[in-house]
Amino acid sequence: DTAVSQTPKYLVTQMGNDKSIKCEQNLGHDTMYWYKQDSKKFLKIMFSYNNKELIINETVPNRFSPKSPDKAHLNLHINSLELGDSAVYFCASSTAGAGTEAFFGQGTRLTVV
């Protein structure tokens, strides 16, 4: 049983397209995140949601729009894709506050051509 699952695992698309990445967690966690990992493996937080509410938005371009229909799902929609958006995107979840470990999905490798 996958705790945090994201789809698709690979996504290749042309510049200017709009695409979505879906994430679901079955851990009953209240908090979900999106992280971006660049080619040097640096992991940077993009968004954090707690119980469907946006908590953190790390100055991500507004072409990126997260949507949380319920606390088990946090999807990432990206408009007008650019070459620089190519990266691996990770969804994660954790229990709220108090500093606890985050559980990560397997990642979505986005390649913009």
């Binding site: 995140y33 493996k41 992991l43 937080i45 908590i55 506050g97 500093g99 470990e101 990560f104």
Partner: protein
Amino acid sequence: GESVGLHLPTLSVQEGDNSIINCAYSNSASDYFIWYKQESGKGPQFIIDIRSNMDKRQGQRVTVLLNKTVKHLSLQIAATQPGDSAVYFCAEFSQGGSEKLVFGKGMKLTVNP
């Protein structure tokens, strides 16, 4: 040996040796720290954590040391095995201000048989 620079820092060890991976964290207000292991093509996976009221914590073959005075964290892996080959990240969490898990730059560990 260890190398740093523009590329992901790497540490090569022989199977059976002990490995030490170091991390300097940035926020003196951080009160919770986690070590993650990321294998190729997978998401980061929790290894061990430590809270700021401790300076040492041991798990199975792993030990984390925390030195708050110099804001330094280390991960010791005993009797390193080929399966330990991965990229290792330290992450810090601060309850003050924006609560988020911030990752360090990562260290690639290669275990030679």
